[in-house]
Symmetry: C2
Subunit: 396 residues, 2 copies
């Protein structure tokens, strides 16, 4: 047994990868053992998942092998699934082993929030992983094939997207771009296909200025999207959705993007949570556990009265800060308080279209789409340098 | 009403298209009205369907718009589905109308022969049309997506092909070529995937010399195909197949290639049939109906004691002969007796592999694969000239 501190990072998403990379950079030889645990041997770019889900970009442009992002001489990589976090034993139970830690970083990502809507967990798909988006893509294409081999049931070519937040809108836009291609491939009249975007809140894209929201909705309506705002999904069945208005939309394809809650592993570890999230201290530590950092979807940080929404931007900044604080703790130095720097928000609206806010400037259309690509390329640069940008970047 | 004879061709497969093209060429202006009825507005190349079914070639390389193959100033094209042939009224009932005829060419193609095996019609797919092969392709891919989102059930990645005749072997070969690509796309270990080819007869590929059959089987075994010859499918269930040995193979994908019988429309029209086929006279006419020609899968022609198997080659030659005989009848000339000219047989075994017999020469491997491509290119040339060869031909 080594006497040097053991650092275990759970999850290699935005937060976990940034933590690992920063620790790798800052720690000296033999200063700590670092282990990164992830279910897959790849890191995926969650904000890009809406494209392979719709089938408008490849899976390979959406993920990177973790061994390309970290130095396995400095960090141990364990491909496994976390089953339990045992705080009193300082142990993590994996599906095929256990790991003990001195410092733990919980960067596991969230679970879909279904708000208790009956049938949603059973019958809807969600955009949450490489596996889930491959399923959505292949499911959608399969509906067209089935439609032509059955008695042309309308529910095969009605597509329902629940949620008109960031992910819902970005996915719906890609789907609207993809449908005409599927119609050509399967000889289906595009006029027969329906895309419904259902949102319980009175407006789409909360957080954007009303004129940008209007622009986004007009753009998507022109692409054939039917919006039902101020309308909740009351129930999801094997045959579609029943809305709060009583209307039923028959559909074999319901994609739920209505939100993210904290990971159930965090709740069951015994932390005090609000919707599965832990209100961390100013250094990103779990209350009462100075050796445990919680970042990303499982952390709750308040901006005045309201919590910040969990975003990639937030998780990345938390990753850097928590790595610095762990190094500082090991060295007996002063910790840094986390302060979120909001750099802007850009939403894609499909090919060549988008909306964005950077500082106090707003963008729409082609410029916003370019900006979105720049944000994506910058991320690839941050985690993998220029080689990764050239390999996975979308420039056109 | 015109007083010139009305010729109606049912089906635009190999036989129907060749008949239509030859009538178009030989008939003078106002000598007859010709109508070609087909369910789709495209002709498809049945002998090529195994490739898009496996996903190794595109749908577009497998079909041609009928309007590119015939002159619509000379031949009327009706896109409709035949519901009934009323011999005593000399009428064809379509799903959206009726057509009366003086001469009828039945070139409708066959139905899959399931030999009464329970569950096969309900749970197996068959390679019979553009729609059916798009379904097979998307179904197979979807199994991989589902596999990764479920608890890795083996039946998702067990593939069963019933029948080791021409179509079964050609499909199994393409599937074996396709699986490694799907495994890469969906992160599935290829060693976990099984392809079973089940055949009730004691050998595969009846009609080929034993050494070619051995070569074909060795080639496919190397690609990972498991053969079960001399083994019948006793039952097909929603979960797989039960074999005559009692063994159950769990599989969500059963593709049945076990044979073709005559079209049910021919039986219900009142013709005397054997397995749905009509033994036509030496001029290709239905017995007792001098104005009705039956060609392709619905005709039965004996080669000594045994009937010729229904092939593209046979249907094409019949199409030419029946067109000539109809023209001769209209002109009061002598009819030509049909004599089948066997030009050879080539079977593809996947990329760069095949077996073939032309005259008394046999071919295997790369040469046979080239020969197969030549046969395909020649067909495109026959029906569409050099432009179609350039547009749809596969040269590599």
């Amino acid at each position: 047994m080594s006497s040097i501190p053991k650092i275990v990072i759970l999850g290699a998403g935005y937060g976990g990868i940034l933590t690992a990379q920063r620790l790798q950079k800052e720690l000296n030889y033999n200063e700590a053992d670092v282990t990164l645990v992830n279910r897959h041997d790849y890191h995926y770019i969650t904000t890009h998942l809406h494209m392979p889900a719709a089938g408008t970009d490849s899976i390979e442009n959406t993920r990177v092998s973790i061994s390309k992002l970290i130095d396995e001489f400095k960090i141990d990589l364990v491909k496994s699934s976390v089953q339990e976090i045992r705080l009193h034993d300082k142990k993590v139970i994996l599906e095929d082993g256990t790991l003990s830690y001195d410092y733990l970083i919980i960067a596991l990502g969230g679970d879909p929030e279904t708000f208790g809507i009956p049938g949603l967990a059973e019958h809807a798909m969600s955009i949450r992983s490489i596996n889930s988006v491959r399923l959505i893509r292949s499911h959608i294409e399969h509906q067209f094939a089935l439609y032509k081999n059955e008695r042309r049931p309308q529910e095969r070519i009605n597509f329902v997207v629940g949620g008109a937040g960031f992910s819902g809108i970005e996915f719906v836009a890609e789907l609207a771009d993809r449908i005409p291609k599927l119609c050509r491939e399967y000889d289906v009249d595009p006029a027969l296909v329906n895309i419904y975007n259902i949102e319980a809140a009175p407006t789409a894209l909360p957080g954007f200025a009303p004129e940008l929201v209007d622009y986004a909705m007009e753009t998507l309506k022109k692409k054939g999207v039917t919006f039902k705002l101020g309308t909740a999904i009351k129930e999801c069945t094997p045959h579609g959705v029943i809305l709060s208005t009583g209307e039923e939309i028959r559909s074999n394809t319901v994609v739920w993007t209505g939100g993210i809650r904290g990971n159930r592993l965090v709740e069951s570890a015994g932390f005090e949570t609000m919707r599965g999230r832990v209100k961390v201290d100013e250094y990103l530590r779990a209350p009462g556990h100075d050796n445990i950092y919680i970042i990303g979807d499982n952390s709750l940080i308040f901006n005045g009265e309201r919590p910040y929404p969990p975003t990639a931007q937030m998780a990345m900044q938390q990753g850097v800060c928590c790595a610095q604080n762990i190094v500082a703790t090991i060295r007996g130095k002063v910790l840094r308080k986390f302060e979120y720097q909001h750099k802007g928000t850009v939403a894609s609206l499909g090919k060549g279209q988008g909306i964005g806010v950077v500082g106090n400037k707003t963008y729409q259309g082609w410029k916003a789409a370019q900006l979105k690509k720049l944000v994506d390329l910058r991320y690839l640069y941050v985690i993998g340098g220029i080689m990764l940008v050239l390999k996975k970047g979308r420039f056109l």
